[in-house]
């Protein structure tokens, strides 16, 4: 099953990194692992980007509420 959370994706990438350090690994395996690890990192990055957009939207909303106003 695919790991969904940001933390899980990062952990997966770390695991892959460790496996890649194994000197016994074949070239074919290492390419596969590299692909999988990079995929996790890309997905994690996407989650960060989405979170950033959300935070900016919330901040802008709060800012709108707090703009000065007077008569």
């Amino acid at each position: 099953m695919k790991e969904e959370t940001f933390e899980a994706k990062l952990a997966h990438a770390n695991r892959v990194l460790e496996q890649l350090m194994d000197t016994e690994i074949t070239l074919e395996e290492s390419v596969k692992l590299y692909e999988a690890g990079l995929g996790s990192i890309k997905e994690a990055q996407q989650l960060i980007d989405e979170a950033k957009v959300k935070i900016t939207t919330i901040e802008q909303g709060e800012q709108r509420l707090q703009e000065p106003s007077d008569g």
Partner: protein, 364 residues
């Protein structure tokens, strides 16, 4: 930028336009920058209805800086490396100057409704007392927006030799019925709120749970400070997340804005002060005390700079243009700028980038 906050005490009477006397009284004020030896670098800044003397800078315990922080500071349009800026809290307000909840000397009871009605003229007369107590008899400029802009103009008329330049934004020569009607909502909502108790509420009564009447009245204020287009841009038809569309009290974003701002406001601002200051705005008329508006304006010796905002629904550009027209006819030195804006009245607090260069130029 050097900031100081002080309170000045006056034991001599302040003679009010109504014939009544305020004695003793206090004025809270803040200063920015350093006064030069000749005392020739002073700029007076005047605040609006719910503003205070805290116009710039930010204290460690504050969430927001002063209300014109974008305009006042080192290297800003009102440059505090060059000028000594003073902003006072108007009398009648609730941020440190004498107002309806101050002690009615010699008793320790607040004035409440016994506080005299004060006018824009009275507010500036009090500021004159402060200036002379500081040994300041000449100002490089007076700047203010909305009710602050009224004060700036009134200074120009009542004390013609005081300032070199008067800069008035988003104001008028006399408050029109349209604005008085908006203010009426606030006055009635406060008066009819049972918790207002005809002004006999205990001190600090609304700090926890604000006064509903003031919150409701302030909604009318906020409508008049914005404009149809600015509301469109700010909120559109957006609905509050997690509020249901078919929930009777589910809210559009614009409703949340009104609730958020007015509920907070009613915890901070004293309802009696609100009534007194709104009254001062309503009674504002540059011509009062003179034969006509023409006579009043003719007295002005300062260069006057009028800045209006095209979408201001509280004080319309035509009102400022009217003053400019009279000054032009009289051959008096002045400038008039109508800033193109869809933001409404509040543009004078928000869209600083649209007029700060004009102010900086005047103060060069």
């Amino acid at each position: 930028m050097k900031i100081e906050t002080k309170v000045a005490h006056f034991s001599s009477p302040l003679y009010l336009e109504s014939g009544r006397i305020l004695e003793p009284y206090e004025i809270a004020y803040e200063t920015y920058g350093v006064l030069n030896e000749q005392k020739s670098n002073v700029i007076l800044v005047c605040h609006a209805l719910s503003g205070s003397h805290h116009a710039a800078g930010q204290y460690p315990d504050e969430r927001k800086p002063g209300w014109w922080d974008g305009l006042i500071g080192d290297g800003k349009a009102i440059d505090t490396t060059k000028y000594f800026v003073i902003c006072t809290n108007v009398i009648g307000s609730c941020f440190g100057s004498t107002g309806p909840m101050s002690d009615n000397y010699p008793s320790e009871e607040p004035y409440r409704l016994k506080f005299p009605v004060v006018t824009i003229k009275d507010m500036i007369r009090a500021q004159m007392q402060l200036l002379s107590s500081l040994g300041i008899y000449h100002l490089r400029a007076i700047v203010g927006g909305s009710m602050g802009g009224m004060q700036a103009l009134q200074f120009g008329v009542d004390y013609p030799n005081l300032a070199d330049d008067v800069i008035s934004l988003a104001a008028t020569y006399a408050t029109r019925p349209w604005t008085i009607a908006f203010n009426k909502v606030a006055m009635e909502a406060i008066r009819r709120d049972p918790r207002f108790e005809h002004g006999n509420y205990p001190r600090g009564a609304f700090e926890e749970e604000g006064l509903d009447g003031l919150a409701i009245g302030r909604i009318a204020g906020h409508i008049s400070y914005l404009a149809p287009d600015s509301m469109e841009t700010k909120f559109g038809r957006n609905y509050v997340n997690n509020d249901g569309l078919f929930e009777l009290f589910g809210r559009y974003e614009v409703e949340r804005y009104m609730e958020y701002n007015t509920n907070n406001f009613s915890r901070i601002f004293d309802p009696l002060s609100y009534l007194y200051i709104v009254k001062a705005i309503n009674t504002f008329n540059l011509a009062r005390g003179y034969d006509s508006l023409h006579e009043a304006i003719l007295r002005i010796k300062a260069r006057v700079h009028l800045i209006s905002f095209s979408s201001d629904y509280l004080f319309f550009p035509s009102e400022m243009a009217h003053i400019a027209k009279m000054m032009k006819r009289n051959g008096q030195e002045h400038s008039y700028l109508e800033v193109q804006s869809s933001y409404g009245h509040d543009a004078f607090l928000v869209e600083l980038e649209k007029f700060e260069a004009s102010i900086a130029k005047v103060l060069q």
